[in-house]
Subunit: 425 residues, 4 copies
């Protein structure tokens, strides 16, 4: 690893927790240069919902490259893009009565999709303020970072982050406190000091923020609040979307219609950079080229994304299987809590983005370190990195889940039984 340490910036991060060099990957497994097989419960922070190198997607991509399909062409029309648009429309939008949404292909990162969404909302409403939520994570470029809660990342901005009012997420002050009513009061009050917002940007499950979840009821009330105060509802489905919660969109069984939806991460299906902003037709008020970027048309990603849609979303089998695995994950996590920390641990999250909240970040980190030693890669999340987060590919087998859970349980058992003082910080 010397070559990394000597030449790569100290900003590198994940590699510090998982000190191995990886060579190949298949499905839910990563394989190091030393031949060690790891179960990947990190999955590119939710980018690999269909696993590593899925054979169907892989074949589609190789075929495309072999035929000299177009890789890059800015936003020229290509056959690969055409197929993606047609397929996304047919398999995702139309069946969900979302045929009236337009697609904007932004720079191929979630942050860039968020930047575009915020710009658009401000442009449409003529307002500058954005409501974003405690523990929300929306990216690290300055526009997106202003909406992100994480102090570590905010601290790197180098300039004060502006034009965002921070609001408490669902249950932030406990289940008894109605945070929607709080927002409503502040927005109604002409002397509250909270300027009328262009939009609220929200995640249904806060992936980085600690697997906090908003109920359908809260989301519906938030949508109502948006309508009432003339602000748009931006649903950031970058991590929770693409099937992660058991449906393609994390919000699709909630009875809401976000004005703008951002997707990225698992959208290409293969781990390739791709991002998209969906907006209701009447909100498509851009001027041509007003938001642009060099890599807006990543055709390789279109190819794998299309293959993934065809393979996984032509019927509801995949969806059902994800929900089945979610239940298994839930059971195993609850068993760990029950056995090893009924008073100190807590299962959080939804669908295939669940985890265990520990009393503190040190415990969570120790668990992850121990698990890695035993071949399981998973990271922490949450305000104090106190949540051990299970984010495996959705294509994982039940056997693999069980195996990973055995490893995780062993790690909890080992960490919680050892004296605190002996743990590394």
């Amino acid at each position: 690893m010397k070559i990394f340490e000597e030449n790569e910036s100290v900003v590198r991060s994940y590699c510090r927790s998982f000190p191995a060099v990886f060579r190949e990957a298949r499905g839910a497994e990563l394989i190091s240069t030393e031949g060690t097989h790891y179960l990947d419960f990190l999955a590119g922070a939710g980018t690999l919902n269909y696993g590593h190198n899925h054979p169907v997607l892989k074949k589609a991509l190789i075929d495309y490259i072999q035929e000299d399909g177009i890789t890059h062409s800015l936003d020229l029309y290509t056959t690969a893009k055409e197929r993606f648009i047609e397929t996304f429309n047919r398999l995702i939008l139309n069946p969900r009565s979302m045929g009236n949404y337009r697609m904007q292909f932004t720079g191929p990162t979630g942050a860039n999709a968020v930047e575009a969404a915020l710009k658009l909302a401000r442009k449409i409403t003529g307002r500058t303020n954005i409501l974003s939520f405690t523990n929300g994570f929306h990216g690290c470029s300055i526009g997106a970072l202003a909406a992100t809660g994480n102090r570590h990342h905010r601290g790197g901005a180098g300039v004060p982050l502006s034009h965002v009012s921070r609001m408490p997420y669902a249950n932030y002050f406990g289940e008894q406190v109605n945070t929607i009513a709080m927002m409503d009061k502040m927005l109604n009050d002409p002397s509250s000091g909270v300027d009328k917002p262009a939009a609220a940007i929200v995640e249904v499950v806060q992936g980085e923020g600690g697997l906090n979840t908003a109920s359908a009821d809260w989301m519906r009330k938030l949508e109502k609040l948006c309508r009432k105060h003339g602000m748009l509802l931006i649903l950031d489905d970058i991590q929770a979307g693409c099937g992660r919660t058991g449906h393609f969109f994390s919000f699709e069984d909630m009875g809401i219609r976000p004005d703008i939806v951002t997707l990225s991460k698992s959208l290409s299906g293969f781990g390739l950079p791709l991002a998209i902003v969906l907006m209701k037709e009447d909100l498509d008020q851009w001027k041509a080229g007003e938001h642009n970027g060099t890599f807006r048309g990543n055709n390789h990603a279109f190819v794998t994304a299309t293959a993934a849609l065809e393979h996984f979303w032509s019927d509801d089998a995949f969806s059902r299987s994800v929900r089945g695995k979610s239940r298994l994950l839930s059971e195993r996590l609850n068993r760990i809590v029950l056995r090893h920390g009924p008073h100190s641990l807590r299962v959080k999250g939804r669908g295939m983005m669940q985890g265990i909240a520990c009393p503190d970040g040190e415990t969570a980190e120790a668990v992850c370190t121990r698990a890695f030693e035993n071949g399981l890669i998973l990271e922490t999340c949450g305000s104090n990195a106190e949540v051990v987060k299970c984010l495996s590919p959705l294509t994982i087998t039940k056997e693999q889940i069980d195996r990973a859970m055995d490893t995780l349980e062993e790690a909890f058992s080992a960490v919680l039984s050892e004296p605190v003082s002996s743990r590394s910080s």
Copy 2:
């Protein structure tokens, strides 16, 4: 194209100028679904320096995918990344005495690299102000957009763009006016109102801004100015780098040592999203993970980038050939000017990013439209889109250049001979 028009956001832009659907591409050629072959003098706005689907890069990529090489892994260590770092060091940095630069892999877009560079400069210096230049283009996310000059893009921000002082680029006020002395006066003057900057961000050739060029002398003076006022020199080599001007870096024969360099576009060599920030070792003051992003490790891009480095940069043959083609391009463009508008047209740019400034944007657009009808794709740039810009792959043959120039000459001839009123606006 109905599927695009009905479903894609109106923000789409290039496709409006080149109304065809493209199916495949090889070298300097794009091929539409109708079988028409186009010479590509757009080249992904400088992303395809080695052409479309270069066989060497293509083979490397297919081999990698077939072996289940890792596609996505956040910033975990991978063999693909290791090879890239080693090769970039060996073939690019070390031979140019730049072995003391560290590499930061940002989100895989130029804008994200710029965001990181600006953050880092502000962090290091504790200052917020950035000097950026008239006609500079650095991206469309809020942090990068503040440094970008283009009013059309700035207008989409939705918030006022802050923390940047705009300065006149080389020769902006004509060759007689020393813009470095102007900056020096303002920075020296404790009551000028220009706050001491964290950095100046500059392009050696302004690709989007109109193929404006800075001389080695101006760049050296700018570097000196930076040293004198304790600000960093950020060289945005996203469009002009990777061989475009005849050297790997656009600045490498100028005798300067930028503190921070941003690269993207042609870095992967294959049109795949990849971006990197190079900073002098002592400036690598990030905290781990302080600037992050999901697609920082685009391993496919590492694979093709490494293949491109080995194939094109192991010796100086490629560099020399680029310089040879640049001379040819220059001759042909000058001939057009001489023949069709010695008083109204002007050749601008450097190396393989040259073009012809027209009296106005309408003329330039008409030329591009005519050229497209005859199988040549090229776009305009500049403040008023008045510059016809030739940005072919560097791997183009001299015969292809000649053919493209014939087409371009015909377009100029046709447009300039027709009455103004008959042109579409």
Copy 3:
């Protein structure tokens, strides 16, 4: 009034509610050119705590002018300033164990004192964020306006207002909701998105915001919160200070030690512009002249301020009398509520800044209009201008209070008995 209407900007406001031209004033009375006497329960929005033209202050000022005392001298040392500093120290600071506070004479307006206080807090802490509260009012210059809640005033800024996080004031969400705990949670949470603040700026009684009050307990907890999170406590005592609540400082019986205190309005005692920032000695970290302004040394104001301090604050007689009058005011207001709207009206405020909250702004305005017709000047305040606000001079006689309350009661009676539709909006 034609001359005003034809020549003065439409921004004028109070004169619209009180359409008379005033000629002279004594104590609690304003006298119009038509000879009508009005009881002044507006008192310059709290500027005239000692009434109009108090004879003792008046004499001191005339004597000073007659002797060619210095009126203006920037911040040169003058005898008038020396006497003020000495007297303020002797009669106000020292007896309250505040001898360690330094005095900064800012531009002679409350807004300017707030600007200075915010600058200083940011300078000391190196942080940019400020916590300010719902319904808080701190002035209309851009720095102060960012901390002000009022949407009408914020809307006039012309730029987005930044660098302030808005927090709920005491009881903002009802008496059951502990807003200090909310703030603490957000400040503790490293991913809440609320950046560590330089300071919290707070009023003990929100004069413009609707006579909302904070309890001693809440203020003590706020002070503790400030200490815990390394932020300064700025107490804006511009309206509630100078005896308005029965003590010189509104907070002096609360057991807290604000880091910075702003005073203005009644500080000169005579209605003359004067403002001061008090800061604990170790926080006096200004560079010489760093915050400046032309009218920092208003010597006439020093003269009347000194006379007011000697006359009213040499012993506790004045304080006691104010508290006595406060009780009378309270009784009379409560009687109005009891008689005319036990379910719809509510007494708010503290000391000599009390009023009656009406169901809506129209009612409150109608009450004020009616009262004015009967010789009583008073204005509304609150988010929806729904609070009828009694802000008489503290030197008012009990007889005058009774008389004013009779008028006010008549106005409530008349307004509440008439059909809503007949009221002007």
Copy 4:
């Protein structure tokens, strides 16, 4: 002076250069507690154009106070305000064909008038950017400070100062460089990065910035530039107005019609805080109370201002006398330069705001210190405090000017003849 040093904030400034306590003042003289008489060439940084305690103004003020005239009434209509408006209209606006300007009484400081002017310009145009000039000084509240050039003051802001583009003032780059053409190029260029401004704010003579002057030609071109680009022209006449340059407005013989004019400093005539914004009738687009403040109606200041207008501006005698004294001042300053530093010194400024530029700030400071020891109070200005600034009352006698110039000449002689090393820094 112990009482100041122990109790007043270290932010105090002028008093450091003039270590005496002043007791009384008459005309152009300040008298210390020790009985020393000083000629006042500081004059409240231009606030005392009519001298200290002018008997006519003094009498008017004492009469007003004795009759219990209203001192403070927010913006209620008063007889004092009525008289001021009528008189200002009759003697100032109408004779100058400016009868179509409306008057806004802002908070009684120049900074507050500037804040209001900037707000209004942004409100009217819907743009946020403001052009302000190198070495411009417009006040220290955050909105005004952003337009101010001085780094010492900007450094105290505590937040980055935004929404202003800095432009070179007349002759900033030397007499050969046409700074209007530079601005025009940047504003015309849709990719310059300079956003279309709401307004340009400018001083005809930069009082704090170093007595830099703009010619009538430059001002006319600036006005034209404003019209061309749809931006307002804000003329900050706070220091140069009220007769300082020999006319009431500094710009009145230049053939321009600023959209907005700010006045303060000498407006009250007596050194009392007062400020006003004049705007063309059609620009009076405020909502009632949108910009407000407690001390908008300083009636004492109205009284003295009215008396000053009647006394000095009923005919052109005063104007002519000021121009006569200006010539004397000019002669004497030029003589100093000629005798003591024809190569190193330079006379700057216009009218009764002239001074001598020294090679550096140390020399200028030494001259002022020496002059003070001999009974002459004057300060430095300019980027490096290198300009010795003569800003006496306009009512000064020629004999007093001669006496002050003798003292000044002696100071220059003494300072320039002594070895550099012996000067205090």
